[in-house]
Amino acid sequence: MIRKLGAMVIDGVWRLGFASRFLFLLLRYSGQSFLRLHLTLREIYFSGVLSLLIILVSGLFVGLVLGLQGYETLQRYGSSEALGVLVALSLTRELGPVVAGLLFASRAGSAVTAEIGLMKVTEQLKAMDMMAVNPIARVAAPRFWGGVISMPILAALFSAMGILGGWLIGVAFIGVDDGAFWSQMQAAVDIRYDILNGVIKSFVFGVAVSLIAVFEGYDCVPTAEGVSRAITRTVVSSALAILALDFVLTSFMFRG
């Protein structure tokens, strides 16, 4: 058993080292892949535009739930006008980037891993290498940058949609005062402190999820089972990475 544990640790460190080298290569060949911008655009379409529906709908529902639950609690202290503050701060600081990141990892990250993994199984990556086409520049980098660009946009849309959802339930259905809802929100939410930090968070999550997705696909065992395992690992380690990074970033950003 100790032997197995040791093998697991060594394997983990090995993969970590390979992932770091992979990130370095990705960044190095990004210039080449930006020369063919339409490849990156295609990936933004696949991972960003096609994720729009799930992001918008779940953002709306998260906002609705926040509005209901927040109202329930705030009303006990007679400060239901602070609903806007509660919804906006929790969405822009935490829920927007984190939940959008989790959804993005399972919607787009898994698809990227499956695609690259399948390319590896059918030896398309090797074929590219044979034809002197760099597979990292041609396949990996566009998908990586597609994810990195899409993620902050999706998180911002998620937050905006959630706030609209909170407004819908709070103002339109329950009857919190419209002016107080927005004005208290505007007084409490700071551009740099809350919104910009949220955008930075979502950017970091975008880098993490895209790197994990691309790397797992590239590193998978080229069998049907290997691809399925790689997809599982993408979703699991993306979720863990998002939550762990969120804790680290929050402790750096919101400490006062």
Binding site: L41, Y45, A156, A160, Q186, G256
Partner: protein, 155 residues
């Protein structure tokens, strides 16, 4: 390279993202009030700042005219030194009084300015002459009990 429908969708996607960020910036956060383009900083000494935080608002007659930019401790005067960054559209007399107030019962603390009658106005780097510290609940209760005890024998 010709334009394709994917480009259109990506364009729409990016536009939506920009609109969302703009919505967050303008409607949710308050762009105009949180960043003063031109400002000047004055200082105020308080013997007790209570729970005042950096970035707390500075209000005159209830209107936000600036923010608390720095709080530090002066070890020679044994007082807290609070830097107030004020919007340069507003100028105040030199004998303006600074006080630390609380918005609502459980609200956050802010710095309130009470303009005086001096003809010269505050410049950058000046410090407020008269200040009033934050009300500390324990002291208030202590004072109340003390007065009560002093009143009791007379009855």
């Amino acid at each position: 390279m010709s334009r394709s429908t994917i480009d259109l969708w990506v364009g729409i996607f990016v536009l939506m993202g920009c609109a969302a960020i703009l919505f967050l910036a303008l409607k949710v956060g308050n762009l105009s009030a949180s960043s003063f383009a031109e400002n000047y900083t004055v200082e105020a000494n308080f013997s007790n700042i209570g729970g005042l935080k950096v970035r707390a608002p500075v209000k005159v007659a209830g209107v936000v005219v600036g923010r608390v930019s720095d709080i530090r401790y002066d070890n020679e005067r044994f007082e807290a030194v609070v830097s107030l960054t004020l919007d340069s559209r507003y100028s105040f007399p030199r004998d303006t009084i600074g006080e630390i107030l609380t918005s609502g019962l459980l609200g956050e603390q802010y710095v309130g300015l009470e303009p005086g009658g001096d003809e010269r106005s505050l410049k950058a780097g000046d410090s407020l002459k008269i200040t009033q510290s934050a009300v500390v609940l324990e002291k208030l209760i202590g004072q109340f009990l003390f007065n009560k005890a002093a009143d009791a024998p007379q009855q």
